[in-house]
Point group: none
Chain length 190, copies 4
DNA sequence: TCCTAAGCGAGACGGTACGTCAAGTCTTCTG
DNA sequence: CAGAAGACTTGACGTACCGTCTCGCTTAGGA
């Protein structure tokens, strides 16, 4: 019967978090600044989120997911699919605000492993599932050795993007492709 | 004529930093707590280090380097060398205090990319160099294809350990070995 | 057709105010606490009272008035009447909850002189009137000098009880009687 | 050996408290406002004073004491001395800032009886001592009855000023004099 | 040997942000 | 349509650390 939660306030906070992280990095975000920027009172923030990290988590889940850029229609050519995905990921991480968000996710994870693990799980799961599925598909076509651990490979590709975002390296597509080619050789049937 | 820098105070600070990070994580370390724990005045800390991150950097450089565990004598068997290295790295990262230190390094990097890049460079360089060298050695023996980018492979192995430390996963040796085996296949001459 | 003011809610608030003041002092009373204690919504309180002080005022007027204890039948013996009144006042102010209420009245007065004056006027007026009347009666009997300002004396007696309540001194009947006796000498016809 | 307490900061806070009380009343004084007005950090205030009331106490003790205006040379004429004291007190309490300070003292006392009692004791003691002494002096001269309780009389005079300040009445000198005259009659030897 | 300039502990200082509390206003639904 | 429930903005609370700034006390060189 009480007044319902203000959807507007909530969205304003999440949006402010995204902007603030993009602007100055997660570390510099303050609850007070967030509240001011969102035109919302601190109390409202504390009412709905237990921590700064939780706000970031929700903000990330609402927005585009870093490391999970739009994926195109899969084909029967595994190498081509991975190239395409990596190209898209590279484009995603070439935008400064996306690097900042990805780094914020990493900072939270390094700081609060429990929450970080939950968030990472959510973000990585889709990517890992998609890549695994592509590999299994290729295996079904007889192009991948039966003893290859598809998830381990998928995981490693996530590690690659995470590490790149962490170091803020300009995502080196050539190097990534070279790596994928090695992988392709590694998993291919002889 | 002035009194020289107190080696004792400096060591006490670095040691306090290591203990504090191991105990509560980098985020919770405060300069005040560090000073109290080390029995040193805040002024002394500010005199010698420009930031908390710098103290961590020096503390890491003085101690054992995370991700850079003791490496054994290389052999002619690349796969065996990598297995051995990964086993050692896994053991290193199975100790909670080492995970904490590695995570602190990641947190600093995610927060202050400039400083973080410098630190990571220092820590990763040796590992990358060592792995690259092993690959080149194997290539010289005719066991690795000429077009393989050794550094990209080495880099990817660092990414693997970094990502593991970040998520705090119990280091899964079996999976790591499976991945290395794929790599071996991938880089091997046909 | 509008629903009438809920007498029950109103009484619950006033009663909660009395209990809260007795328990923790006026300063610690909060509207929220009052609402919760009375099982009433804040809005209801704000609808009917303009301020915390106003609630206290109404609560005091409804309950027994501090400094205005039950007065007995007056006699022709002024000193005896005053002794009796002071005894009753002393008994009244020896109960902690009455001290608390009296102090609350003083706190309000010290804080909001306008409202405080109105309240004090209400509470003091009766006492002053009664004492003045007794003095005038005695004067009519030829026992009080014609130039004595009865109201000034009455006022002073109120000041005495107010000051005692403020300091929370155990009401010292002997001292009060001594003072009254001096007054009696002071106003008596030679 | 640490840096010594800043006398300037302390004085600035006390002065700010006096000004703030005079301007808006004790209730409206906030620590934050005090800090801002004094150009001092909140921490500095909390370091040296346990409560807002304590600051007021010290501010009052440093300044002129309300209810304890300058006292002139005593004479052998008790009535004249009391008249003079009351005149001075009336002048003191006719200045709005002094009324505000006196009311602040009362508000603190009504709110925190323990601290209030301590403060009142300090302020009232001198006045009570001085008046008592005057009465005793007059008694030594044979002008006051032996059974009169000098302290009770003195106390009552303090109650009179306190009550006047509380109600914020323009201090009515005529009425006060009338009261003193009654007292004089009351205590005089027959 | 003593002088003296810096190092050092201690901790006060002006700040910023924290997370909490209550004030007073505003919706919403229920009786 | 009054009233309970409670979300909302506002603003102060008292605390924790920040990085800077004295203090008075070592503690070496260089004189």
């Amino acid at each position: 019967m009480p007044r319902p939660r203000s959807e507007k306030a909530q969205q304003a906070v999440l949006s402010a978090m995204r902007r603030a992280v993009a602007a100055g990095g997660y570390q510099r975000v303050t609850i007070e600044g967030l509240a001011a920027e969102a035109g919302v009172s601190k109390q409202t923030i504390y009412r709905w989120w237990p921590s700064k990290a939780a706000i970031l988590g929700e903000a990330l889940l609402e927005g585009e997911i870093p490391g999970d850029p739009p994926r195109h229609e899969p084909t029967d050519d595994l190498a081509a699919d991975l190239h395409e995905w990596l190209t898209a990921a590279g484009a995603h991480l070439s935008r400064p605000e996306n690097i900042a968000l990805a780094r914020a996710l990493i900072a939270v994870t390094a700081t609060d492993p429990r929450l970080g693990a939950a968030l990472n799980d959510r973000f990585a799961r889709q990517t890992v599932a998609w890549v695994s599925e592509r590999i299994e598909h290729a295996r079904a076509l007889g192009m991948v050795r039966p003893d290859v651990d598809a998830e381990a490979i998928a995981d490693e590709i996530v590690a690659l993007t995470s590490y790149s975002a962490l170091l803020g390296r300009p995502f080196d597509a050539a190097r990534a492709f070279a790596f994928v080619d090695v992988l392709m050789h590694g998993i291919a049937t002889d």
